[in-house]
């Protein structure tokens, strides 16, 4: 089995207009910058993007939004040091926002990957974000029903990968990435080092290859926070 791909451009070529795309990362940590930039190069319109944030500065997800590729964003915290791209479009009514509490966002994605269509959580009970959602009482406490979240594609970033799709992550760059691998119909991963099958100790694998469809080596990957501190603009 060989899921490896020669380039980021080749890996994202299959993403059409109108697709729902999960993008891993939390703030600047764990975002697959090269895959996002390859998608900007390719161009795609009317995307629904699922990410914890709404981009920062002029690179990565913020650049996708600035290029008007995103019509809807599902996230928990659309604020950052430099959120202009999203904020301007949101206040102009040009981008739709579905705001989801962070733990609910994570669990909805996990549920999507695990085949669980809905679950109950105490989070958001009695608040504006629970409006219109069914409420259930369990052992005397009220919980809000939330639905799974799935996507056509996931773009994720790992540290080590092998041609089977097995992956590890670096430091806190793990965050949403393993969950999104599970919840997308087609998961595209960039890894800092692609090793032969057997090159990752099976006990150290965090994402088993069954959740990954295509994997591309990007040695020395860019890091969103570092790019922003340099004032980088893409393209």
């Amino acid at each position: 089995m060989d899921k490896s791909c020669a380039s980021a451009a080749e890996a994202v070529a299959c993403i059409p207009d109108g697709a729902t795309v999960m993008i891993g990362g939390f703030g600047g940590s764990g975002g697959p910058i090269e895959l996002i930039h390859a998608l900007i190069d390719k161009g795609a319109k009317n995307l629904t993007v699922i990410n914890n944030n709404a981009g920062n500065g002029d690179v990565g997800l913020a650049a996708m939004i600035r290029e008007d590729m995103v019509s809807k964003l599902i996230c928990s915290f659309p604020k950052s040091k430099d959120p202009r791209a999203f904020t301007e479009r949101y206040l102009d009514g040009k981008i739709e926002l579905e705001l989801v509490p962070q733990g609910t966002l994570a669990e909805r994605i996990r549920a999507g990957g695990a085949g669980i269509p809905a679950f109950y959580t105490p989070t958001s009970y009695g608040t504006d974000l629970a409006k219109g959602k069914p409420v259930g009482e369990f052992d005397g406490r009220s919980y809000v029903q939330e639905r799974w979240l799935k996507a056509d594609f996931a773009l994720v970033k790992g540290e080590l990968g092998d041609p089977m799709g097995n992956m590890t992550y670096r430091l806190a760059a793990r965050n949403f990435n393993p969950l999104m691998c599970m919840a997308a119909r087609h998961t595209i991963a960039q890894v800092t080092k692609l090793v032969p099958a057997g090159g990752i100790d099976p006990e150290q694998v965090i994402t088993p290859g069954i959740f990954v469809n295509s994997i591309v080596e990007i040695a020395n990957p860019q890091q969103e926070e570092v790019l922003n501190r340099e004032g980088a603009v893409y393209p």
Binding site: G28, S76, F77, Q102, A106, T121, T127, A172, N175
Partner: protein
Amino acid sequence: MTDFAEIKLSNAQIAWRAAQDIEDGAYVNLGIGFPEMVAQYQVEGREAIYHTENGVLNFGAAPAEGEEDWDLINAGKKAITLKDGAAFFHHADSFAMVRGGHLDVAILGAFQVAQNGDLANWSTGKGVPAVGGAMDLVHGAKRVAVVTDHVTKKGDPKLVAECTMPLTGVGCVTRVYTSLAVIDIEDGHFVLREKLPQISLEELQAVTGGELKVQGTVADLIVPTL
């Protein structure tokens, strides 16, 4: 009339007071911003293990400038370091720790706290809404405490009979550390535990939106100069 601006505690002093209640061995989540200061005043001889929503347990102080690794950040997107015995995990596990009742204490900021424990701290109702992990955090930790100024910049009470701002959670706060007092929330009431000795109960009540109940002694709120 006592001039509150002269005597009120600084944010550092409020954080210091909150830190005194963190037990040895506690698993703790500190909200982004002001609550993060609590970690600086950990009581000597006690070890608290700090959790951050983005998937780290047992992180330490910020690294020296220039030493940051931006893959290693906290929920406030600030660079952190690791202590021995740290662990990484993905977001679903992280919030299982939160909702599953595995954290001992969560300490958050507030716009308003109501006498029934309702908390409003995520939205002023204007501009771009952003919630992050606040709504999850208030429903998991065994103790949910708030650190806050006692009144707003305009002088309005932040401890209120009922929240008028969008809620983060219902009936979730158990203790409030303010710039003037320490107040528990029990059975739908504010119960005054400590107050600055320079302020009378009447003066404190005048800047508090719900009734302050007194059960037993009210201790003096004494903190060091920081």
